[in-house]
């Protein structure tokens, strides 16, 4: 027997176990979920970094050189490498979700989910190639 229970006839006391703060460490699927949530912070940093780059380009050569020096700082470099990992992770999980959220019909036929995925990856590659072409031409 444990504790001192309070028992009311015909109205038993329900047990309400509390969820541990560390529930997300219980299995890899939960850890992956938390990492995906965390990736939003890095996506936000990536946007801020990109805006800083645009501002530096707008403000002329001196500002751009300062931005390059800032980017070469080991701390910024480390943050950006981690950011790259999280942004790619975020994109991959997003593309994995898309075929389940999008159900596309052509006429009366349903487009197979893997084709939705292929379309997303295809779009990603094409946009990336377009940006590369624009920057390196």
């Amino acid at each position: 027997m444990t504790g001192s229970p309070i028992y009311r006839e015909h109205h038993p006391k329900w047990l309400r176990p509390r969820m541990s703060t560390w529930w997300w460490l219980e299995k890899w699927a939960f850890v992956k979920f938390i990492l995906r949530e965390l990736s939003s912070v890095f996506v936000a940093w990536f946007v801020v970094y990109l805006l800083l780059l645009f501002r530096a380009v707008r403000d002329g050569d001196g500002a751009y050189q300062n931005f390059l020096a800032f980017s070469a700082n080991p701390i910024v470099l480390t943050v950006n490498v981690v950011t790259l990992f999280f942004v790619v992770f975020h994109a991959l999980t997003w593309f994995a979700l898309a075929p389940r959220a999008m159900v596309v019909h052509i006429g009366k036929k349903k487009v197979p989910p893997f084709l939705i995925g292929v379309g997303n990856y295809g779009g990603w590659i094409m946009v990336s190639a377009g940006i590369f072409w624009f920057l390196l031409r």
């Binding site: 504790g3 006391k13 329900w14 979920f33 389940r100 159900v103 009366k108």
Partner: protein
């Protein structure tokens, strides 16, 4: 293979205990015994006070869901021999209040299920003399997967969002709402949208995806929720463009 296996069964008897504790039972472990057989053995041969729910023994009624070694499972479809040499830990479904031993309180789920109106809604019923509402095989395929839900609540037990926020409508109720939304005979999508589009409806879901992993009927509630998010977002955008009168009609899912 061992001919017996140890089951560690969670016991909670509110008249004598203030917290749950494990009790060990040694049960036979033939190849064809499922976890539920082990519990039935304990109840019949060892301790008749052990309380748990079960009914059909064939994965249809959805009554015997429990945590088996930390995973939500239908105990009638989970073989003891898969856990040999043991022990097998059996606990009540997580995220629900425990009434006694392995019996959980399911009132919250039942109320949420009803709130999404899981039945066919017609704006106007046609007279019986006009015959049945016909449906093509393609139209049936649109919702058939979601109609497989047996209300076993394993998805609620697997969902950390429901564990952290009991106000969340939850995976099965949303999947069942989609089952009717996608039915060509139904005209109630706009009524359900009021419930589903709340913060504690679809937007509460953060797509952990475990509900789909544990579903014994391959319903894919996580997919149903993400699909409805797209519908709701599209509908929200349409509400800016389309004349007011058409908004309700546009709630039909994509």
């Amino acid at each position: 293979m061992a001919d017996r296996i140890t089951m560690q069964v969670s016991r909670y008897r509110p008249e004598i205990e203030s917290d749950a504790q494990f009790e060990e039972f040694e049960v036979p472990c033939p190849k064809d015994w499922v976890v539920l057989d082990g519990l039935n053995y304990v109840k019949d041969q060892v301790d008749g006070t052990l309380s748990y729910r079960w009914s059909c023994r064939m994965g249809v009624c959805g009554s015997c869901g429990m945590m088996v070694n930390g995973e939500p499972k239908l105990t009638c479809a989970t073989f003891l021999s898969d856990y040999a040499p043991g022990p097998v830990k059996v606990e009540p479904l997580r995220n629900f209040p425990v009434v006694r031993d392995l019996v959980v309180e399911i009132g919250d789920f039942m109320r949420k299920l009803v709130s999404v109106k899981p039945w066919i809604i017609r704006k106007e019923e046609k007279p019986i003399s006009q015959g049945e509402y016909l449906q093509t095989p393609d139209e049936l395929d649109e919702y058939k997967q979601y109609s497989m839900c047996i209300n076993c609540m394993l998805c609620y037990s697997a969902c950390p969002v429901y564990g952290l926020d009991p106000g969340f409508i939850g995976p099965a109720a949303i999947a069942l709402a989609q089952r009717y939304n996608l039915d060509s005979r139904d005209e109630g999508a706009a009524e359900r949208q009021e419930i589903l589009s709340q913060h504690e409806g679809i937007w509460g879901c953060t797509f952990v995806g475990e509900c789909t992993e544990v579903c014994p009927k391959h319903v894919d509630p996580a997919g149903a929720i993400q699909r409805y998010k797209l519908t709701a977002a599209t509908d929200y955008m349409k509400s800016f463009i389309l004349p007011r009168g058409r908004k309700a009609d546009e709630a039909k899912p994509v």
